[in-house]
């Protein structure tokens, strides 16, 4: 019998802790597949954030560190500088990366740390129960913006790819969607591209996943992807913001 699909070696054989309709599992799988395909597992260290994916250290089967809220890029910097012979990635949500960890992500990117940052944007805090995130959409209701996000009062959703694109050091910055099978296949290529650049120690790579949170959005899980397509994609535009390898770029 021919095996055509199986669990990636870089994922532990433990069940995920995610809600139905959540796309963390898909993002985890893409990263694990990239590690398998690029034969990186035994030389890779990951950093788990604080948020729904806090248990990522139990899910990826490579050495893992769990970081304080928002500090993953600083922790990853220490790891990469201590072990330049290894490859480092962080996995962070929107509260972790775009609110409490804003300084850490901007400066790790600006130093051009040779690591990959995977950023999962679902426009809300998941683990703490659906509070407003820095990426929460205008007028979107959350448990701490019960009347809808008032952009005059609290500001507009932060677009991290665009913000990081003002820096010269990052090697790759790209936003992908996990909202359809076609999108996932495209996302897989970007994840692999980022991890290959990582493997070759070329520079800082940043991949943003547009994801869902049916539980805290109050949307049925099968409708969450449609909701995200209609509401998130017009604000968070899918595409590449920086690719130094395409620029013929030597790092």
């Amino acid at each position: 019998m021919q095996v055509i699909a199986q669990r990636p070696k870089s994922l532990m054989e433990v069940p995920f802790t995610y809600c139905p309709g959540c796309l963390h599992g898909v993002a985890h799988r893409l990263i694990a597949e990239a590690m398998d395909e690029l034969d990186m597992r035994n030389h890779t260290m990951g950093v788990a954030p604080v948020g729904c994916s806090v248990f990522a250290y139990k899910f990826f089967d490579c050495d893992m560190a769990q970081a304080a809220h928002g500090r993953a890029p600083a922790v990853a910097t220490g790891m990469k500088r201590a072990r330049p012979d290894m490859h480092v990635f962080t996995y962070q949500g929107d509260g972790d990366l775009a609110a409490i960890g804003t300084a850490e992500i901007i400066h790790a990117a600006n130093r051009g740390e040779k690591m990959t940052v995977f950023f999962v944007n679902n426009a809300i805090y998941g683990m703490t129960g659906g509070q407003m995130a820095p990426t929460t959409l205008s007028n979107m209701k959350t448990s701490t913006s019960p009347y809808g996000r008032d952009v005059e009062d609290i500001g507009h959703p932060i677009k991290m790819c665009e913000l990081l694109s003002t820096l010269e050091s990052p090697y790759l910055i790209e936003r992908v969607s996990l909202l359809s099978p076609q999108d996932i296949l495209k996302a897989k290529k970007v994840v692999n591209k980022a991890m290959k650049i990582n493997k070759e120690n070329k520079g800082f790579t940043f991949v943003e996943f547009i994801s869902t949170c049916p539980t805290n959005w109050g949307v049925e899980s099968e409708k969450a992807r449609e909701w995200a397509k209609e509401n998130m994609l017009p604000i968070f535009k899918i595409g590449n913001f920086r690719d130094k390898s395409r620029e013929g770029g030597q790092s």
Binding site: R71, A74, M79, M86, A103
Partner: protein
Amino acid sequence: MGEKVLMKGNEAVAEAAIRAGCRLYFAYPITPQSELIEYMSRMMPKVNGIFIQAESEVSAINMIYGAAGCGKRAMTSSSSPGISLKQEGISYIAGANLPAVIVNVQRGGPGLGDIQPSQGDYFQATKGGGHGDYRSIVLAPNSVQEFADMAAMAFELADKYRNSVIILSDGLLGQMMEPVEFAEAKTEKEVEELGKQHYDWCMHPNVDGENRHHHEINSLEIDPNVLEKHVLKLEEKYKKIEANEVKYEEYNVNEDNEVLCVAFGTASRIVRSAIDQLKEEGRNVGLIRPITVWPYPYKAIEEALHDKVKKVCVFELNLGQMVEDVRLAVNGKVPVEFMGKVGGLVFTPDEVKAKIEEV
């Protein structure tokens, strides 16, 4: 050991750390510790080490967390306000059982305070400092030589117990120049071997047929029963440290002491001068100088309370912090008096003498 060189405490501890095998240093500039970060920026590239001026104290301590998670000797330094920012990271280092060395060149507080010497961070350093139940080992130097010697001592203790070690100095020790003699520097090979001592738990390449399970650096235990076990295991470690690592120095402690003084760091130097002057006047006063302020030398103080000791005098550059530990050790046997100096000011030997002579 080589020849003596005249150096500032800030530079001496940096040089000694490199000699002790520190190859990763992350920090943020702050007075009065800036010579330390500047020295590291000059010297680390010369030993193929890593120097990063981090975007904040918070980031610097988290870089330490990452580097220590790889089993490497890593150090950060700051002064009081910056050390407050590092408390989050120190708590995570404790929770994840990581070795780390943190230098605090204390200045006056609270808030921005000033940039003069102080011992106002005693509570913060010795009683935990961040959230949760944990302890850092705290070493308190009182000379440039001892400041430098404590770098190697701190790394040895950090590695031995997988624990944070704070060198609690102050603006005076950091800025003052004194002759200092350095230990032989570790060779590149020795430095490399140091990192390998932690291969049973730290993150490192999964090769050479190790075929191991992946390693996790983590302080999260969501199941209360598991967390309870984890915290009790940390407590066991702290008890072992309390049993084995107490260090202190006695100065003129004898059975005829009429007064026993207790002081650490910079304050102890002034008390020593006062005791010398009193000795010339025929008075017999002893001094216990804690070298580790956690674990604390309770027993040494208790044992130094000879029959003729009428009172214990505690001198600190704060409003009275260590005095609480002294009271625990003395346990009401004789009166415990306190004299403090704040605002970044330092008392004179005459002021200390007057306090000791007070009836």
